[in-house]
Point group: C2
Chain length 312, copies 2
């Protein structure tokens, strides 16, 4: 609608990679069971829309997260297509062994920056969890996997409130000793705000150098896309999003709602940032999955006439 | 949580004025009738929370907008308190005469930048509507009223799509001949996006000079607070918000949801921008009004435990 100015502060990345997490974070806490077939249908819809990175599952205790119980079946059946990066979240040694057996090409390995969340989520202190994460990263890389190393609750914790940025930097610093392919900062509790997101990114960059930086944002307090905008202005070019805005960590109170893939893509395209995704096709996949899940998804443009997309 | 950097791009206004529109834009299209007594209760709740600017009504044909039919009664009964700016939206000559009789101290006078919306909303072309607005501004000022002169659909139109920024600038330029107290840019259709909002603000500033600039944002596509963040970074310090995120123009398809006062205040306080508003008290007023309206409001922090405010 208007052309971008040439000022440095408005120089956005030319393109962004969407790391789609609906099949993992999106559904893990939903009461309607999603059968393997429906997951594969959803994946097909995403791939047909041009989504290039998909988090297919975590490997977690099926008693704790029943939606992830079919991880092995899913990885067995999924088609491995050129140009599509399939990923899994790995949560410990047994989890990584399962991922290795499933020939997962890309794993996310995360440590919480909050002691309380770390103890509740993994029964380990932050220091213990960091030590284990380093061993996992090392083993995953030795098996030829790509690794994103991440910090959960990097912008605040629902249990603890503020999280010292030095704790985030300390974890990133330890990850960097193993040269991960990507550093991911997760706003697990949805407590980040733009000024803080900008500041933390700048400080993480100083530690992580040229390694790719990604953000995993939740819209718990309505600030997801404001945070994304600030990160985008600072050159971040990989974002986790969930179709429909589904999502939420089962161990974080109130942590519902990843930023919605369709709303994010809509915003990026308006900003002349390419994603490789066809928005109309994505909205179609989202509407189909919304019918299946029998709940109104939080995504906004999904519920507007003609998907509300105004890309012209 | 983190201190602000000293870089110019992060220099935010020290304080922001919230122009609360729930009593006008918020309820005008809601099916549950709000009696005058309930409006005055709501106003009391807002004032007790520290809100300093309240749009109390429009003066409009009561057959078209029944919720505004009690405008005279409301202005007769409302207490005029020192430090509280009460405002009304004025939509034509008869409307202004009603406001004058009600001794309204502050009026908003708007012209749409979209021909289609202008014709549908006021039965006038943009040029005709601009001519009338200038006469209204002149008359309002001659009666000692403060005037905000505004442009509707400044960032796009649900009927027309893109709105040329030159049309917005042309309207602002004409307003400036009458030295309004404030220029307001309204994203009536909720189609603005951050890069555009920043660009339009910069260009309007070049025309409007030192006159206060305000933004009226809708969250129709989830971008309300991202747009606010970009505007804030560019020094805008007056924002229209609606308690609970209620709102929507009855003549714009899909234009639901002003940005929510509580989510906006929450974001501003985290960003160390003062509003004079006590968030907990505001959330209390919103919860009470939500019960009365018998619908779940779109505001986010409203529905989190302990209001989800994380100001510490």
């Amino acid at each position: 609608m208007v052309s971008m100015t040439g000022k440095k502060e408005n120089m956005l990345p030319a393109s962004v990679a969407i790391h789609e997490v609906v099949l993992r974070d999106g559904i893990q806490n939903e009461p309607v069971p999603v059968p393997t077939d429906r997951k594969l249908d959803l994946l097909d819809g995403l791939v047909r829309s041009g989504v290039g990175r998909i988090e297919l599952s975590s490997f977690v205790n099926p008693r704790l997260v029943p939606q992830m119980a079919d991880a092995e079946a899913l990885w067995e059946r999924v088609e491995r297509r050129p140009g599509l990066l399939l990923s899994a979240l790995v949560l410990g040694e047994k989890s990584l062994e399962r991922a290795i057996r499933c020939r997962v090409p890309h794993v996310g390995i995360f440590v919480s920056a909050s002691e309380t969340h770390s103890l509740r989520n993994s029964n380990r202190t932050v220091a213990e969890a960091a030590g284990e994460a380093l061993r996992l990263i090392d083993r995953a890389r030795s098996r030829g996997m790509q690794v994103r190393a991440g910090v959960m609750n990097a912008f605040g914790c629902a249990y603890e409130g503020a999280v010292p940025v030095d704790r985030v930097l300390g974890l990133v610093d330890r990850f960097m000793t193993l040269s991960p392919d990507e550093i991911c900062l997760a706003d697990t509790s949805g407590m980040g705000y733009p000024a803080q997101v900008g500041e933390v990114i700048a400080r993480v960059r100083a530690v992580a150098g040229d390694v790719s930086l990604s953000l995993h944002l939740h819209n718990t307090r309505g600030l997801g896309l404001a945070n994304l905008w600030e990160a985008l202005r600072r050159g971040v070019a990989i974002f986790d999003t969930s179709l429909g805005g589904l999502g939420g960590c089962p161990f974080i109170p109130g942590a519902k709602g990843n930023i919605a893939t369709e709303d994010t893509v809509h915003m990026l395209h308006l900003s002349h940032v390419a994603t490789g995704i066809r928005l109309e096709s994505l909205v179609e996949a989202s509407r189909s999955f919304e019918s299946f899940m029998k709940k109104e998804f939080p995504a906004m443009i999904l519920h507007l006439p003609d998907s509300g997309a105004c890309e012209s």
